[in-house]
């Protein structure tokens, strides 16, 4: 299998053979040049990762900065981040569902329902029973208890406990009048929605497309019932809620957060490289490790520098500077989910089930448990997306999370590099893809001579290009045997 036919004389084939086989790539550190060459051959072989999305983002930014002089202003950059918020949060949860090769079409409207729960709890001083009316309130509680039931059935203790805490809070009015408590209620609601969705998919065996299509319609009805036709729940007056998308991290704190993150990242990657080398395993060359950390630091620093500039029209009365709070939130969740996906058994099983569910089952992986947790994470993150959107809009309209919300989130994940066929995807895909998705309407909106019709068509084209890159790299990957 490894005989090298291109090498001429017999005595020179032997070294080539050992270099090819015998775990040649596994021992010791490779040099930086080897590493770069490996990376290029991986990209050429179809393992493109987030590269197309990053390049796409760069192209979009270049184009828009040429077309409009307002695009690359500090005000617009901060705006862009909070615009991307809802898409990024929903997409991050969707990555888990997509990794299994499933889909959650109801994540958008579910985010609206969860935001609605939060809004009602806040507006009625934490008394959800008064806010919803006793029959609806009892229904909600029964629904959450059912979710706990199916979670226990699948031995999902963490989500069961989280929903349980939510039920206790809702019934006893504990902390539900505080913003944090209300947000927690929204998340608990999201998790119960996800658990029941997952139950229908994993235990009853209905295809996720159909289950979530039905729920997509159902949640629209629920949010309409909560908010009232044409109405809206205003949450602008609650400082913490309003602050998520509209208030900013103080510049000094921003730098501190940035320094801590980059410091930990650099130390960890350097430590890993040294440790692997010590164990006699293949390790990334130190040059690559350091330059990657350096690159991230430079990009982050530039971004933060701009966000920390004064962007208030009259700085004397009100000062607006710093990164919007939603940005560190996104980063924290991205890191958290990345660690869970790459460092834990659960994450490994998510990839395994997405790659070959039957193989995972034979290896003793509980498929129903993994499926249900993916949907629970998906809807829980959607609830947070709903909170972010409520913060941005200052209210929860009766069509919250409807329309294109979910489709944009799916598009974000796919553009970022997550595969709809399962088994391929990372948390960062949602962030990069979400930025691309938010950049298009943001940039086009600044071009006053462009009608809305064009905006849709251009978004369509970007999505098609992203999908083509995914399909072509997949084709390439199977052709090159990667």
């Amino acid at each position: 299998m490894t005989t090298d036919k291109t090498t001429g004389p017999a005595q020179t084939t032997r070294p080539t053979e050992t270099a090819q086989a015998d775990f040649a790539r596994d021992a010791g550190a490779s040099t930086a040049i080897e590493f770069v060459r490996d990376y290029i051959s991986r990209v050429r072989g179809g393992e493109v990762g987030a590269l197309p999305a990053v390049l796409g983002l760069v192209v979009l930014v270049l184009v828009f900065s040429q077309a409009s002089d307002r695009f690359l202003t500090v005000y617009n950059l901060a705006n862009l981040v909070s615009q991307a918020g809802i898409t990024v949060f929903i997409a991050m949860g969707l990555v888990f569902v997509l990794l299994l090769g499933e889909i959650d079409l109801a994540a958008g409207t579910a985010s609206g329902v969860c935001a609605g729960i939060m809004g009602l709890a806040l507006v009625h001083q934490g008394d959800l029973q008064k806010a919803l009316g006793t029959p609806v309130f009892v229904t909600v509680i029964v629904f959450m208890l059912l979710a706990i039931g199916v979670a226990v059935l699948s031995r999902l203790w963490i989500p069961a406990a989280m929903v349980g805490l939510g039920v206790v809070m809702a019934v006893l009015h504990l902390f539900t009048s505080s913003a944090v408590g209300a947000i927690y209620l929204a998340v608990a609601g999201g998790i119960s929605i996800g658990l029941l969705t997952g139950f229908l998919v994993a235990w009853v065996g209905i295809p996720s497309f159909v289950v979530t299509l039905a729920l997509f319609l159902g949640w629209q009805g629920v949010i309409l019932q909560m908010v009232g036709d044409g109405g809206a729940i205003s949450v602008r007056q609650f400082d913490l809620i309003n602050g998520i998308a509209n208030k900013n991290l103080a510049p000094a704190l921003g730098w501190l957060f940035f320094a801590v993150l980059i410091g930990i990242y650099t130390l960890y990657t350097v430590y890993r490289s040294i440790q692997r080398r010590g164990q006699g395993l293949s390790a990334e060359p130190m040059v690559i490790v350091l330059s990657r950390a350096g690159g991230l630091a430079v990009i982050g620093a530039i971004g933060l520098f701009f966000l920390n500039q004064e962007r208030s029209p009259n700085p004397d009365s009100t000062s607006i500077k710093g990164a919007p709070y939603v940005l560190p939130l996104i980063i924290v969740f991205m890191i958290g989910w990345t660690l869970i996906l790459s460092k834990t058994r659960f994450g490994r099983y998510v990839y395994a089930v997405g790659g070959n569910a039957e193989a995972a089952r034979r290896a003793g992986v509980d498929l129903r448990r993994i499926r249900m947790s993916a949907f629970a994470i998906g809807s829980g993150m959607a609830a947070l997306g709903g909170v972010v959107q409520a913060s941005r809009l200052g209210s929860i309209p009766s069509d919250a999370g409807g329309g294109n919300t979910l489709l944009f989130a799916v598009a974000a994940a796919v553009i970022g590099g997550t595969s709809l066929f399962g088994g391929k995807g990372r948390a960062r895909d949602a962030v990069i893809g979400g930025l691309v998705i938010a950049t298009i309407p943001n940039g086009l909106g600044l071009l006053s001579n462009l009608p809305a019709s064009t905006q849709f068509v251009i978004t369509c084209l970007v999505l098609l290009v992203a999908a083509s890159v995914d399909a072509l790299s997949r084709k390439r990957a199977s052709a090159s045997g990667r």
């Binding site: 775990f23 164990q279 395993l281 490994r348 990839y351 070959n356 034979r362 003793g364 992986v365």
Partner: protein, 252 residues
């Protein structure tokens, strides 16, 4: 295994099958399509329950309710369709379901070294890196990974379902050599195969299933190629195999 019976609804797939596996030997399990080979393996692996009969392991009776029970006893199965995840690399596949952890997180370094050691101990030298994604491997390499996965856990019995079915000549040789090495390391190996050449080449014993009954369990060196084929197709050959009445009853 003694007197194993298994039915799927009205279809009686296994009739009082007695089947033995010995350590250090390759036992070939042969039979025509639908003879019950795969069903028998799945009963041992805990994927199907048995209706009646007894499974004894190292002399004591055991019950196997699921794949985990079988694995707990040291019984590993390498399936025909491989059961590897294409999107995971070799290490991830070999440890799937039994990942090593250190302080709650996956111990990648430890798993990587153990995978490499196991592959090396089986004299597998054809993979460039244990961090290669499985979809990038050839059929023979995949089969090798699947087999190596089964010996990673100090298993005592390894069942191989058609390991060479989809392989080329050179790759088949490699896999058969690997099968032989497993037995030489003291494992009980069961080789299910349609290919008589493979069977005659590596096995010590041959058990023939004929329409759900065990026709004969013979030493490989005592029988000829033709006799085995006869056992497979008619259930008997000369004075070995099912009694004529039994064979006739089975046919009806």
């Amino acid at each position: 295994m003694a007197g194993i019976n298994k039915s799927f609804g009205p279809v009686h797939v296994l009739h009082d099958v007695n089947f033995n596996v010995y350590p250090g030997e390759v036992t070939a399990l042969v039979g025509d399509n639908g003879a019950g080979k795969t069903t028998l393996v799945k009963c041992v692996a805990g994927i199907y329950g048995i209706d009646s009969g007894e499974i004894r392991f190292e002399g004591r009776p055991v019950t196997i309710h699921g794949p985990r029970d079988a694995a707990g006893l040291g019984i590993e199965v390498v399936y025909q369709d491989l059961a590897l995840c294409d999107n995971l690399d070799i290490v991830q596949n070999m440890f799937l379901g039994r990942e090593l952890r250190r302080g709650g997180v996956l111990d990648e370094g430890g798993m990587e070294r153990r995978s490499r050691d196991v592959l090396a101990s089986l004299s597998v030298r054809t993979v460039k890196s244990v961090r290669q994604v499985v979809s990038s491997l050839s059929g023979g390499q995949r089969q090798t990974v699947a087999i190596a996965k089964s010996v990673l856990w100090n298993s005592k019995v390894v069942l191989l379902d058609e390991p060479t079915a989809a392989l080329g000549v050179a790759q088949t040789e490699q896999v058969l050599a690997l099968v032989r090495r497993l037995a030489d390391q003291g494992l009980g190996v069961v080789l299910i195969s349609h290919n008589m050449n493979d069977v005659m080449q590596v096995s010590d014993r041959i058990a023939t299933l004929y329409l759900g009954r065990l026709a004969a369990e013979v030493k490989a060196k005592d029988v000829t190629h033709a006799q085995v084929v006869e056992l497979i197709t008619t259930g008997r050959s000369g004075d070995i195999g099912l009694r004529p009445a039994e064979a006739a009853a089975t046919t009806i």
